[in-house]
């Protein structure tokens, strides 16, 4: 067995960087969360107010509805992205003419900055000047107005997210798929397994860690989306698309209520962490059982 010292040495830079830029700011935010602090308000000093910020959160209707909307958004967006992304990654595994070209086209949305994505989708969907409401109106007589229709505004944020982030899922799953050994597939084919059986019993167990990692990344990114939704709907109509990232943004920037914003962030961070931890434990436990059997 090699010495663990080499292992720690290889981990050290990661721990150092994330320690400085991760833990230190976190502790600062945690400290602020226990204070009333509005640096641009009438009283710009930090005043210790115990758990008051947290107590206020429990009864904050805006916050609670924001959680519900965010979870709904994350659920629909991430689920569609993973299913669609896996399907596309499988298609890319086959040789066909123009594969390289299609792969490049498919990755294009990733290189458009979120703030630009939000702007374009907004210009495409604004009633009376956007191309999409215009076409829907002239082809189907359907009136799309995301300034009024909360359901459609929600659906559009989901579709925009799918458009923007499915390529990420495709790429990570593609990397996982091309790295798989070929023998188990050949063996399964010799044994006469059909495509569904191969997927369920051969492919899925092998790429489950990659799928899980991708779901995590997408989930936590969806939970803290700001720029895109900000540009597309501004959180409206009403509060229908005021997702958590945006909700905190609105507490901190127009209102400059840092104490309360910090407390909200800590709770959001905590909820995200617990959610991901539960998912992670569920999966690791299952993986452990499989190995034992």
């Amino acid at each position: 067995m090699r010495s663990n010292r080499v292992g720690w040495l290889m981990l050290a830079p990661t721990i150092a960087i994330l320690g400085v830029f991760g833990i230190v700011p976190f502790l600062y935010v945690l400290y602020v969360a226990f204070h009333q602090w509005n640096p641009f308000g009438a009283n710009p000093y930090m005043i210790y107010n115990g758990a008051n910020n947290f107590r206020r959160l429990v009864f904050d209707n805006e916050f609670l509805t924001s959680i519900a909307f965010t979870l709904k958004f994350a659920f629909f967006a991430v689920l569609s992205e993973v299913v669609l992304g896996y399907f596309l990654a499988q298609l890319f595994m086959k040789e066909f003419p123009g594969r390289g070209l299609f792969r490049t086209i498919h990755t294009l949305p990733l290189i458009v900055a979120p703030i630009v994505v939000g702007s374009v989708w907004r210009l495409m969907t604004t009633p009376s000047i956007g191309i999409i409401p215009y076409l829907l109106k002239s082809w189907f007589g359907y009136d799309l107005n995301i300034g009024r229709d909360a359901t459609m505004a929600f659906a559009l944020t989901v579709i925009m997210d799918i458009w923007h982030w499915t390529p990420l899922v495709t790429l990570t799953l593609l990397a996982a798929l091309v790295s798989l050994p070929k023998e188990p597939f050949e063996q399964a084919q010799i044994d006469g397994a059909n495509r569904w059986q191969i997927f369920w019993h051969v492919t899925l167990p092998m790429i489950r860690p990659a799928i899980l990692a991708t779901v995590f990344i997408r989930l936590m990114d969806a939970l803290r989306t700001v720029d895109e939704v900000w540009m597309l709907t501004g959180g409206g109509p009403g509060a229908a698309t005021r997702y958590l990232g945006l909700h905190i943004w609105k507490i901190v920037f127009p209102k400059t209520d840092y104490g309360y914003g910090s407390a909200t962030s800590i709770i959001v961070l905590y909820l995200t962490l617990v959610m991901c931890w539960l998912l992670y434990v569920a999966l690791v436990a299952r993986r452990g059982q499989k190995r034992a059997s």
């Binding site: 067995m1 090699r2 663990n4 080499v6 292992g7 981990l11 830079p13 990661t14 721990i15 960087i17 994330l18 830029f21 991760g22 976190f26 600062y28 935010v29 086959k94 066909f96 390289g100 490049t104 086209i105 498919h106 990755t107 294009l108 290189i111 900055a113 979120p114 703030i115 630009v116 989708w121 210009l123 000047i129 956007g130 215009y134 076409l135 458009w163 790429l171 990570t172 593609l174 990397a175 996982a176 798929l177 091309v178 790295s179 070929k182 023998e183 860690p209 990659a210 990692a213 990344i217 936590m220 990114d221 803290r224 700001v226 901190v252 920037f253 840092y258 914003g261 962030s265 962490l273």
Partner: protein, 278 residues
Amino acid sequence: MRANRPVLSILLWTLLSLFTLFPIYWLFVISVKPAVELFTTPSVLLETVYWKNYVKVLGDDTLRRYMFNSIVISTGNAVLVTVLAFMACYALSRFDLPGKENIFFWTITNRMAPAAVFLLPFFLLFTQVFVIGEWKLYDTRTGMILLYCTFNLPFAIWTLRPTIDAIPKELDEAATVDGATTWQVIREVIFPLARPGLAVTLILTWVFAWNEFLLAATLTSFNARTITTGLSEYVTTTGTEWGTMASIAIITLIPALLIFSVVQRHIVAGLTFGAVKE
């Protein structure tokens, strides 16, 4: 493997590409229209092309500087992150370190933080803590390269770990028995097999760094300002210069596409683990 059906594949891909390309096409349409035309009845096809936005953008020295900063920061960060994550994943996968699963999970928590509130401690770190005499970390490319590790490093570690875990341990053990050092094992055994994963990690971390907006907007002013932040300067409360913004956005696709086409070639199948002796 069953027979390929190229016609069906191509048809399917063409349909998907239409969905993918339409918003980008629309971005282009916005970039070649004078501002007044944006607010009239839309039409799918372009009748006239108005290049003034591009002339203005390409002649702007400031934007050229921002573009250069973006390329340096994204590339520097993506390379740094991929190397560090590769090392970290190798350590997590191959060594029996106590508490390593907790460390693994801890890394990802750094990506969960909602950005808005964390801007302030970052700002204080950059202007008050990392200061040596006249020099500050604020508004430096180095600062941004390091800072972007907070969201890219967890991402890279989480996407690379499955790839490295999937490489059979028998391969390194066989190489070690043959007298290879740890460094040789990494270079000769792990690296070639992890290449698709590394390529994807490099591409995606590059993309995240390239697209990042909030941190760059807060922690840079001019010297290290990135193009993503630069283009958002045209989105203001008094009215957005959509055409200018869109033309910058279209221009920024070019370096990104170049990097993609170089790196994507490494996402190839064909390497098998057939070398493992049963």
